[in-house]
Amino acid sequence: MEATKANTIIELTVNNHAGVMSHITGLFSRRGYNLEGIICGPVGDGSVSRMYLLVEKNARLEQMIKQLEKLYDILIVSLREDYDHTLFHRLHDLIIKEKNRAKYKEF
């Protein structure tokens, strides 16, 4: 996969409970926004999570952020032009244990 320049990252701080992910992905599918990638994990004591959404940089980005800001379980929305979104394309390499890398190469 090749990193495209037209992508950017939205960083979300969200309440951590079942259903939050549905609210966010549901918003993207209902409003027809493209969602290229998601990374998510708990922070601190686990009551909140941080989410990184890889999205296309286009005219709808502003709307996307405004709609995200309206969601009850989203605490902070920020557009992270300064983040390295190519991480999303290297995820597979990062997540596989060193010793197994060779085994999974073909994927």
């Binding site: 549905s22 918003l27 209902r30 502003e62 405004k66 009850y72």
Partner: protein, 554 residues
């Protein structure tokens, strides 16, 4: 004090001031009903959950306060969906409390299990699935807060049966104080807006449902009169501006009068207040008010720039903004612009039928408006009768027109009228419906008979899905596929069989006299009014056209 989840819910609803709840019991919400039976809250037994949802909407739309409905799990919850989605699109604060299968069975495809939480995500302002009884103490007060704060909207609270039965110790009840967010108004922006308005030659107020939600109608009137700014309203805004005022130019959009849409097209500044640039109001957005700059004020910041870029904007309560804006605005006469309005009104008037036939649809609505009490609440269904009503019924105060604007739900009129009647027992409530729409929630006649409310229904009966038939005539080569009913129920007889009074104006020599008598009598009544099947709503903006490119109504 030990209490069950169900008892806690009812207690919290009482504390929120809820006096009535519409709903239907079933397996998964029986504990809730057991607790409700011990409460002073009155229960209205609907005959379909969609009816219950719309009864709650009738209460909420007519009063501006949140209203509650109950349904059981599975089909109970799915039947509510249309009423919830309808509330979402028109920003109506209802709280739907649904029973769910016990926590241990969630996810097992248990009897009457559906993913109510998942299904209601896109049609609510927010929703909750309760995981333990303690959560109720925060979720229920918070739901009332959420339903009303900012842009109002529906909330769903899905509560598994075991949690309704779970006993917990209650030490103290949550504080009832509602946080009220104060709008911080950007005064520099207000000044810029003032300047732009005063510089404009042909400004126009384009107002919508936001004015009614905000209670800003007096401030809008003040602004319009002070600076001589003509006013057009969306369907949802009708009632927010006096229809007889010289500055009022009627409803805009797909079925707006010719002069209305022509005047709009001339404007050089559009004051879009409490509106969301809905496609039925704007027509083809690229051709909408092309020469106009736009000042957009809406409480929902995601509406700003969603459809159309504005030149100046504020995301705040419209009344709060106008309190700062109005004093800065100078008096202006705008003689030229006002004389243009008068000329357009004369040259392209709304066409009132020449015939005096009382059963001509527009004559019929005129007749209803002459007979109805000044503060009567009018509900409509969806279709031709709704548009005719919007075109000529003089709505003088907010919340006198209750209509499904965003979702356009047929079957809306009767249950909403029941809800409005329950919440406003001293007022006259009239549901103007069509035969197609009315059949979609006709079972609520049983609820109406039971409650014996002062609710009148007038069915404008053309034996067809009139607005569909009209579109087929205009745009589908008169191929009237599936828009004409072959069987025609005798609605007056149907009403009688439900235990209500039923009248058929088609069988009367003097329909006006009979209608007058029927509307002025106390109690419920259904009035069937046969109308010609081939009368169209005009003018009409064809799909894809600009508002000024209307057909008909000349």
């Amino acid at each position: 004090m030990k209490m069950t989840g169900a008892q806690i819910i009812i207690k919290l609803l009482e504390r929120e001031g809820i006096r009535m709840i519409a709903g239907i019991p079933g397996g998964a919400n029986l504990p809730l009903y057991a607790a409700l039976s011990k409460s002073k809250i009155k229960h209205i037994l609907a005959r379909h959950e969609q009816g219950a949802g719309f009864i709650a909407q009738g209460m909420a739309r007519s009063t501006g306060q949140p209203a509650v409905c109950f349904a059981t799990s599975g089909p109970g919850a799915t039947n509510l969906m249309t009423a919830i989605a309808d509330a979402k699109l028109d920003s109506i604060p209802i709280i739907a409390i649904t029973g769910q299968v016990p926590t241990s069975l969630i996810g097992t495809d248990a009897f009457q299990e559906v993913d109510t939480y998942g299904m209601t995500i896109p049609i609510t302002k927010h929703n909750f699935l309760i995981r333990n009884a303690e959560e109720l103490l925060s979720v229920i007060p918070e739901s009332f807060q959420l339903a009303m704060e900012g842009r109002p909207g529906p909330i769903v609270i899905d509560i598994p049966k075991d949690i309704q039965k779970q006993q917990i110790e209650i030490k103290r009840w949550p504080l009832m104080k509602k946080k009220k967010k104060k709008d911080k108004i950007d005064l520099a922006m207000i000044k810029k807006m003032t300047h732009m308005i005063q510089q404009a030659k042909k400004p126009l107020l384009y107002i919508g449902g936001g004015i009614i939600h905000s209670g800003a109608e007096k401030l809008v009137l003040e602004l319009a009169r002070k600076n001589s700014i003509p006013v057009t309203s969306t369907l949802m805004g009708l009632g927010a501006f006096p229809p007889d005022d010289d500055l009022f130019i009627g409803m805009l959009g797909m079925h707006g009068a010719r002069y209305t849409n022509y005047i709009l097209n001339e404007a050089d500044l559009l004051l879009a207040f409490g509106v969301r640039f809905d496609d039925r109001a704007t027509g083809n957005i690229a051709r909408f008010c092309k020469q106009a700059r736009i000042i957009h004020i809406d409480i929902d910041h995601s509406e700003i720039g969603k459809i159309r870029r504005s030149h100046l904007s504020l995301a705040c309560d419209i009344a709060a903004a106008l309190k700062y804006l109005n004093p800065l605005i100078k008096r202006q006469k705008r003689k030229e612009w006002i004389s243009f309005l008068d000329r357009m009104k004369k040259e392209h008037p709304f066409q009132i039928p020449q015939s005096s036939d009382p059963l001509n649809p527009l004559n019929l609505i005129g007749m209803i408006s002459r007979i109805a009490q000044g503060n009567a609440i009018i509900t409509t269904d969806v279709g031709q009768h709704q548009m005719w009503t919007a075109q000529i019924y003089p709505f003088r105060t907010p919340r006198t027109l209750l209509t499904s604007g965003g979702l356009g739900t047929m079957g809306f009129g009767l249950p909403v009228a029941i809800g409005a009647g329950l919440a406003n027992p001293k007022r006259q409530v009239i549901c103007i419906s069509g035969d197609g729409s009315f059949l979609m929630n006709i079972q609520e006649l049983a609820t109406l008979a039971e409650e014996n409310l002062n609710v009148k229904t007038i069915i404008m009966n053309n034996g067809s899905l009139g607005l569909v038939r009209q579109q087929q005539e205009f745009f589908y080569d008169k191929n009237y596929m599936a828009s004409r009913f072959i069987t025609r129920p005798d609605f007056a007889a149907v009403a009688k069989n439900f235990g209500l009074k039923g009248i058929d104006l088609g069988k009367e020599r003097d329909p006006e006299e009979i209608l007058q008598k029927a509307l002025n009598e106390k109690g419920p009544c259904l009035i069937n009014a046969p109308i010609p099947f081939d009368q169209n709503v005009t003018p009409m903006v064809p799909p894809g056209a600009g508002n000024h490119e209307m057909i008909g109504g000349e």
